[in-house]
Symmetry: C2
Subunit: 183 residues, 2 copies
DNA sequence: AGTTTATATATAAATAATTATATATAAAAT
DNA sequence: ATTTTATATATAATTATTTATATATAAACT
């Protein structure tokens, strides 16, 4: 599905693989990420499928770069994907839950220590959603008033992250309490 | 990480690849799933690493089966993994958010229809967590009172699923309202 | 009686993603 | 001055995961 993330960004502007990586790290990172190597591979695949085209650009003080642009065919593919509704729930993988599922044999204090550490991490992440992200989105909304629908969408993804982290922290508090009392 | 799921189950009982698939579908499915083909491959890998051993069992009316058992080395590897605390947040991928992020160009009604359909799916999933799962866990807890610590863990993962779906439905309601009003 | 569904077993091919490695310059820090 | 960090570019090797395919019997349905 990374292909659609790349098509989505190229639909706004031409970009190199490197720039796409930067863009994703700053925007979709909390719900979709990719390694640079995967981005380069996927761009090649998209090019061979005719959904993007690329041309090399010479640079003096840096290695030459390859700029990618979406094609009409790529725009169509993107629009078709967006129009197709999600009809099944995507299974998501939670490593922590897998671990916890098998952790009945761990000692009480070991477990509590692990869970408290994790709580700190999620609390920090929650703070990030509450502070940094909204500013970025507000700025974007101000400078491009035409993009207000995009801005609503971006804010919805931020809000998801915020709610998710809030849920996670609450669940951890409940879990810590339960283990402290009944273990 | 599938390897640890398999080691975890084999730590309770010897099982075939087929049985492991059934077990996962009935227990960890909502936070960790795998295709049968991946399970077979991973079992081979575990065997070649000495973490499990297997022996074929002849069957009259079915193809012969291969039963896997965890080794001491496998038990050690599992215990080491469980003891190692999670120190970074795992990035998780939400296809729906990726789609929504780029959906600013869709029509208002198209979007609302998609979101309402999705709301129905998540509401159903929430119902499942509230009804089916707790019974299974209670039964297990009753028949094996010794396993109460495991039972607490399994209940915690169920509760995570419940909270997650609740959060998702609430977020969808908020999103639907926002788009209905401001789009 | 014939078809479908479930049980039971797996392999092969393809796609997706991660980890490791490689090159080269500019800017910042020590 | 020298080292480190950041910018900028990517490829190769490995691991993880999905999709497609294959075989065979029992049980249930039509």
């Amino acid at each position: 599905m990374l292909k659609y993330a790349l098509l989505g960004f190229l639909n706004y502007d031409n970009k190199t693989g490197y720039e796409l990586k930067q863009t994703m790290d700053r925007s979709t990172n909390h719900f979709w990420h990719a390694k640079q190597s995967q981005i380069y591979q996927t761009l090649k695949k998209l090019a061979s499928d005719g959904l993007v085209v690329s041309h090399p650009e010479h640079q003096e003080s840096r290695p030459d770069r390859r700029v990618y642009a979406i094609t009409d065919s790529g725009k169509k593919a993107m629009a078709a994907w967006l129009a197709k509704p999600v009809t099944t729930l995507e299974p998501n993988k939670q490593l922590l839950l897998l671990k916890l599922f098998f952790s009945g044999g761990l000692g009480k204090e070991t477990l509590l220590t692990q869970l408290r550490l994790l709580r700190k991490l999620h609390e920090q992440q929650l703070d990030l959603y509450n502070t940094e992200s909204p500013d970025v989105i507000k700025q974007h909304g101000k400078s491009n008033p035409e993009l207000s629908r995009d801005t609503i969408m971006w804010e919805r993804t931020r809000r998801f992250g915020e709610r998710h982290e809030k849920m996670y922290v609450d669940w951890l508090d409940e879990t810590i309490r339960m283990i402290a009392e009944h273990f």
